[in-house]
């Protein structure tokens, strides 16, 4: 009985071993059908929806291909949303890179053993708790009566904070109701996604390359410019893909922190939910995809993927 079963198993094994393509097909069928049907399929339907339009009188979706929905994107109010979101995504990405790079090089070059474990814990620990918990914690931290204001006050810099909040665009009644506050929270949320790829890229740079550069006469700054940065650049691009696209698509943080002006994610929620304008929501959803495609094309031209 067991003998028969085991010999059947053995026959199956040798059958599959002799046909590696079949074995591969069996293994890949579930993930590929997920990717094909569920993921790419819904993306395609999103794309198609964005070329439909909403009949203003009936409130019904007109299932005819047209560019008029994309035309609506170009109205001043909607264009504002796109530009505001893109500017925030760009600022967050630059800040995450500027803060993340030194952290990543500390971990890649200097931290060993226990220090390294602590580093990973420090970077990843925030991701273990809920995004919403952390977001609302930040709302309290940045509130007018919050710990951030208190701390600035203790430093005797309350005047400076108030001057910053007076500034047009970035300012607001309090940190938690300003774009500055939103920026801080975005950078906090996405920093790990920048640090980890940059660290991985830096770890692949052999220390002997840095020594060779110094040996050939380069001071540390020149070594950074000519050796470290070009070799870590793919990691920075990988990290920036995360920070940029996560900021472009997020609809919760702009709803909790900052001012009432909409971001792309919020516009998508409003148009497909309350307004029932699925085509416009779909068109808005295509914006981050288009921006990311353009971004990757530029990164490619800059040679970000040469070292991959």
């Amino acid at each position: 009985m067991t003998g028969a079963a085991s010999s059947a198993r053995r026959r199956l094994s040798s059958f599959l071993l002799a046909r590696p393509r079949l074995a591969l097909a069996i293994l890949l069928a579930p993930p590929l059908s997920w990717l094909g049907a569920v993921y790419l399929g819904s993306l395609a339907s999103l794309l198609v929806q964005s070329f439909f339009t909403l009949d203003d009188y009936t409130g019904q979706v007109v299932r005819e291909l047209t560019l008029s929905t994309y035309g609506q994107l170009l109205t001043a109010a909607n264009l504002d949303i796109v530009l505001r979101t893109s500017a925030m995504a760009a600022a967050v990405t630059v800040a995450a890179a500027a803060l993340g790079f030194p952290l990543a090089s500390l971990a890649a070059r200097h931290a060993r053993g226990r220090m390294r474990a602590l580093f990973y814990l420090g970077v990843l620990l925030p991701l273990w708790s809920s995004y919403l918990v952390r977001l609302y914690a930040w709302k309290l931290i940045l509130a007018r009566e919050g710990v951030a204001t208190w701390f600035v006050q203790r430093l005797g810099l309350l005047g400076a904070l108030e001057a910053v909040l007076e500034l047009p665009v970035v300012g607001g009644p309090s940190l938690s109701a300003s774009y500055l506050g939103m920026f801080v929270v975005f950078v906090y949320m996405w920093l790990p996604y920048m640090v980890l790829p940059v660290q991985a890229a830096l770890e692949r740079v052999p220390p002997s390359l840095l020594e060779a550069s110094g040996d050939l006469g380069a001071r540390p700054a020149a070594t950074f410019r000519h050796v470290t940065w070009p070799l870590a650049f793919p990691g920075v691009v990988a990290g920036s893909i995360f920070t940029f696209s996560l900021t472009l698509g997020d609809y919760i943080i702009p709803g909790v922190i900052g001012q009432s002006n909409l971001f792309i994610g919020q516009a998508v929620v409003i148009h497909q939910g309350t307004a029932g304008n699925i085509p416009l929501a779909a068109a808005f959803s295509m914006v981050p995809i288009a921006i990311m495609a353009g971004y990757l094309a530029v990164a490619r031209r800059l040679g970000a993927f040469h070292a991959l």
């Binding site: 020594e211 550069s213 110094g214 050939l216 006469g217 000519h226």
Partner: protein, 354 residues
């Protein structure tokens, strides 16, 4: 150009370098002369690479002083030393072409583009790689990368060139060829070469002088012939080539005084048992029995157990003997002899077989 009166390129003056509790370089005193091919020879962990890194400036001495061309340089960073390195892993910049790699030093020094291009191409021609200038390092073989690393260092015309086991990753034929080329190149450019290797044959073949290192200290410095023929310690005798150690009653009987002695296998003549050995008092004569014999093509190696229990290794030219003659020696009684002046009294026998 070394100023007159300063023929010393590199001087270690009681240099110490510690890693934790380990003294990787332990009070080393050493002088490397301007223009010579100097080799640091030793097993892994003997401190030879740390010595090289001290000269390059990648390590700072924890004690003692390091002079480059007469100037106290222990605290200078690598980019302020007139020294270039060929790294063991070559350390070529993967994102640059071969030409950009070679032109890196001139670029850093601010040499204009056209001129540094010409310098790079000249250096690449010197190592016979000019036609590969547009390639990336990943598209080169190990031997080609090694040459690029050499060109990248030499293009700067350093006063001292450091080479950290540069041939270690190459196969035997290529390694032998590169040994010849490196030596020729060194004569041609006249730069001081400081070469690190664990390969005693490489060291003997290429060096003007060499230092044998062990456990962070220098055991012996000298020309290859001196070090080979006159080893001071058992470590040097056994690390540079192979040797036989004579101690105890055997040594006393043969040499007339107690102590430890070394005699090279090729210095021992092997005779038929009972044969009359010419040379009288100048030659030591021993009787024994061949316990093991290995045929190595040009040579054969026999291990002979002598009276008193010691075993000596003897290397024989296979001049008249064929492999069948060699095989017949197994188990035969033989007589050995060697000139007493070929025997070296050793200072210390640490690490010697009991």
């Amino acid at each position: 150009m070394s100023p007159p009166g300063h023929p010393v390129a590199v001087r270690f003056d009681g240099v110490v370098r510690r890693f934790g509790d380990v003294r990787a370089v332990d009070s080393v005193n050493l002088e490397i002369l301007d223009g010579e091919f100097f080799t640091l020879l030793g097993p892994s962990g003997s401190g030879k690479t740390t010595c090289l890194r001290l000269i390059a400036g990648f390590e700072r001495p924890d004690g003692g002083r390091l002079f480059l061309h007469g100037a106290d340089s222990g605290a200078l960073p690598p980019y302020e030393r007139d020294v270039n390195t060929v790294f063991q892993d070559y350390a070529l910049f993967p994102h640059m072409t071969v030409e950009q790699n070679v032109a890196y030093g001139p670029m850093i020094r601010g040499v204009p583009r056209a001129r540094r291009r010409r310098l790079a191409m000249e250096a690449l021609e010197q190592v016979k790689l000019a036609e590969l200038a547009a390639r990336k390092p990943a598209q080169l073989s190990g031997g080609q990368r090694q040459r690029v690393a050499l060109a990248r260092a030499l293009v700067n015309r350093p006063r001292v060139l450091l080479l950290d086991e540069p041939l270690g990753a190459l196969d035997l034929k290529l390694r032998q060829q590169m040994q010849v080329e490196l030596k020729a190149l060194q004569r041609q450019v006249g730069i001081t070469f400081v070469y690190v290797t664990h390969d005693q044959e490489e060291a003997l073949n290429m060096s003007d002088r060499l230092a044998v290192m062990r456990a962070g200290a220098i055991e012996q410095v000298g020309a290859p012939g001196e070090v080979y023929e006159e080893p001071r310690t058992w470590f040097v005798a056994s690390f540079v080539g192979a040797s036989n150690l004579l101690t105890g009653p055997v040594a006393l009987k043969l040499m007339g005084a107690p102590g430890a002695y070394s005699v090279r296998p090729e210095k021992i003549a092997l005779h038929q048992a009972g044969a009359e050995v010419q040379g009288g008092g100048d030659r030591a004569v021993l009787d024994g029995r061949v316990v093991e014999v290995a045929y190595l093509g040009a040579l054969s190696r026999a291990r002979v157990e002598i009276e008193g229990g010691a075993t000596l290794t003897v290397v024989l030219q296979n001049a008249d003997a064929g492999h069948r003659d060699v095989a017949r020696m197994q188990g035969q009684p033989v007589r050995l002899s060697f000139r007493r002046d070929q025997v070296r009294a050793l200072e210390a026998t640490e690490g010697a077989p009991a």
